[in-house]
């Protein structure tokens, strides 16, 4: 089945080569980082996690978002998702691989990585993160591959796959809950120390994952003979709308607690991110833009005639994706370190090699999506013919 990825137009191959170039550049940058150390990044004693961990966190969300297709299909037998559920699963595979790569490039001694297995530590949340992320990857490979294979043969999905599909549903929730727990259990980091961290992560994940899926499916619909079905895409859009509203509501709750209580520790990071603190405020324009863009996306999705317009739907999905990315893929992790434990401020500026490495991991994700979607679309086109 996978051989279908080897037959494609010159545009397809051009895109693959472009991605390989990006990945190659990042790989060179990573070799440089391996040789010199993480000092080549913009991270410092005060901002000890940067782009890598922020992107990791965001893409755990994208991966978990795939469950928003799986639940309607398998728990509610929503038949319009029958053709696209595999795209949700394949997107999750790409996102989880990206997460694992972001972790690998972030650690200072990657050759010691297996110490996590050698010295299993149940009181560390990273231990559980390792289990749930790898487990989720495996589950999606099993479910995605076998459902597509069954479709190709024109037979129903084998019975033994069903339990894995059902397990994958709570498992998706678990990956983002555990990722939130990495942050939400740390004393002295006021911004992260919030009980709604996991719910908020899930809300933004269920907005961001399906939003990305909508964008890709709209693209697929344009350039291939496979039609995912506008009804299915519209239902996805409603999911994105609900989830994004929930996410913005949770964000509002954080603002209320901080500013109504007037407790300085609760306000400082929000001040830094949205208003500027002690003259520092490099992220302010981005964070404010995230709110505006997020609200704009919700508005587009809320008004049915706009949502049904394909072009505006693409804009809405892109808005939600960008807004959640700035909020979670930039502000959340960096903000947690500002101010530092001494109530002073160090800002963070990612370096070129750091961005090159991160971009390469995006490239790996895009490559996996491209190849897996190519296979899935070929199967679907064959079915249609």
């Amino acid at each position: 089945m996978i051989e279908k990825a080897l037959k494609g137009s010159s545009v397809y191959w051009g895109w693959i080569i472009f991605l390989l170039c990006i990945i190659g550049a990042g790989f060179m940058a990573y070799l440089y980082q391996l040789k010199v150390g993480l000092g080549i990044t913009g991270m410092s004693r005060d901002i000890s996690w940067g782009v890598y961990i922020a992107q990791f966190t965001y893409f755990v969300g994208v991966a978990a978002g795939g469950v928003m297709v799986v639940i309607p299909k398998y728990l509610h037998h929503y038949s319009k998702y029958a053709k696209i559920v595999v795209f949700g699963e394949f997107l999750a595979i790409a996102a989880v691989v990206m997460c694992l790569l972001f972790i690998i490039v972030d650690i200072g001694q990657p050759m010691r990585m297996l110490n996590v297995l050698l010295h299993p530590t149940p009181h560390s949340m990273l231990f559980y993160d390792m289990i749930v992320l790898n487990g989720y990857l495996l589950l999606n490979i099993i479910c995605g591959y076998n459902t597509l294979l069954a479709d190709k043969k024109g037979v129903p999905c084998p019975g033994w796959v069903k339990p894995f599909i059902y397990i994958s549903i709570p498992w998706a929730i678990s990956i983002h809950t555990v990722t939130a727990f990495l942050y939400a259990g740390l004393p002295g980091r006021h911004f992260w120390l919030t009980a709604i961290m996991a719910p908020r992560f899930l809300a933004s994940a269920f907005a961001a994952g399906p939003a990305l899926l909508i964008m890709i499916l709209l693209f697929v619909r344009r350039v291939t003979k496979f039609d995912p079905g506008m009804d299915a895409i519209q239902t996805l859009a409603k999911t994105v709308c609900y989830a994004m509203i929930t996410n913005l509501f949770f964000m509002g709750c954080e603002f209320f607690t901080a500013y109504y209580s007037q407790i300085p520790g609760h306000m400082h990071t929000l001040d830094y991110l949205f208003r500027g603190l002690h003259g520092y405020g490099e992220l302010v324009p981005f964070m404010r833009a995230a709110i505006v863009i997020g609200l704009f996306g919700v508005f587009l999705l809320l008004v049915p005639p706009i949502r049904r317009n394909t072009k505006w739907l693409a804009v809405a999905a892109a808005s939600v994706f960008v807004a959640t990315w700035i909020d979670k893929g930039v502000g959340l992790v960096i903000g947690g370190f500002i101010p530092n434990p001494f109530e002073t401020i160090t800002e963070y500026h990612p370096t070129l090699p750091e961005i090159t490495i991160a971009t390469a991991i995006w490239g790996v994700g895009a490559l996996i999506v491209t190849v897996l979607y190519k296979v899935a679309i070929s199967v679907r086109e064959q079915q249609a013919a």
Binding site: G37, S48, R112, H123, S124, R189, E343
Partner: protein, 272 residues
Amino acid sequence: MSMDRRKFLKAAGLTTLVGLGGKGVFELLRPGTVEAEMNHEGHGKEAHGEKDAGSKIRWAMLIDVMALNKEKIEKIVHTCHHIHNVPNWGDPKNEIKWIWEDEYEHVFPDSYNEYNDILNGMPFLLMCNHCDNPPCVRVCPVQATFRRPDGIVAQDYHRCIGCRFCMAACPYGSRSFNWLDPRVHLEQEIAQGRKLNKRFPTRMRGVVEKCNFCVERLAEGKQPGCVEVAPDVMFFGNLADPNSNVRKILKERISLRRKLELGTKPSVFYLI
């Protein structure tokens, strides 16, 4: 580097033994050597650490901030960083700090009082608090940082994977990461006249480090380096023993501990 391989391995082996062999080190300790009041029994529960309630030792550091001045601070920091081969990067992005100076309002940001002219601006010394309930130990995925029965929060540089979860978890900013190769920098410093302490290993890049309460010196029956050079400022002793030097001082002086509201139970006390 001026240290040859054989000598380095000897030093590294000794320190690994010290770092890993919590119990073994206990046996090396002899009563009276580090004011280690091991003769007194049954007082463990009186220490406020519930964990290891049976442990007879919980090391603690008292810092008399009223007796601190620039000169002493410099001496203490220099001594510590020399003993432990801490490179002097000279820039805040890459710096490694085991013990360092900061002002009261940064050390106790939660109890900052703008009318407190006595404390505001006063220099304090910061170091790892060797918490009784350490968040860094809780989050470490490989147990590279661990709490020994005597209360010292130790770091195994040979196991650390460099994930920096402990740095995010520490509410005191006590941990430093080797962003670049410290050995390369130490070599440059040696070329400029710095002496390497061959009895303590250097670290490799990509691992986290911090104050270790001079565990390697305790094993030899010595006081921590900072206490040795500033015996009128730094006091080290057994918190679990009600008759120890530190408990006696704590009975007489007002002491502060950082961010008590977080429940970490620091072992470093500031005397005012």
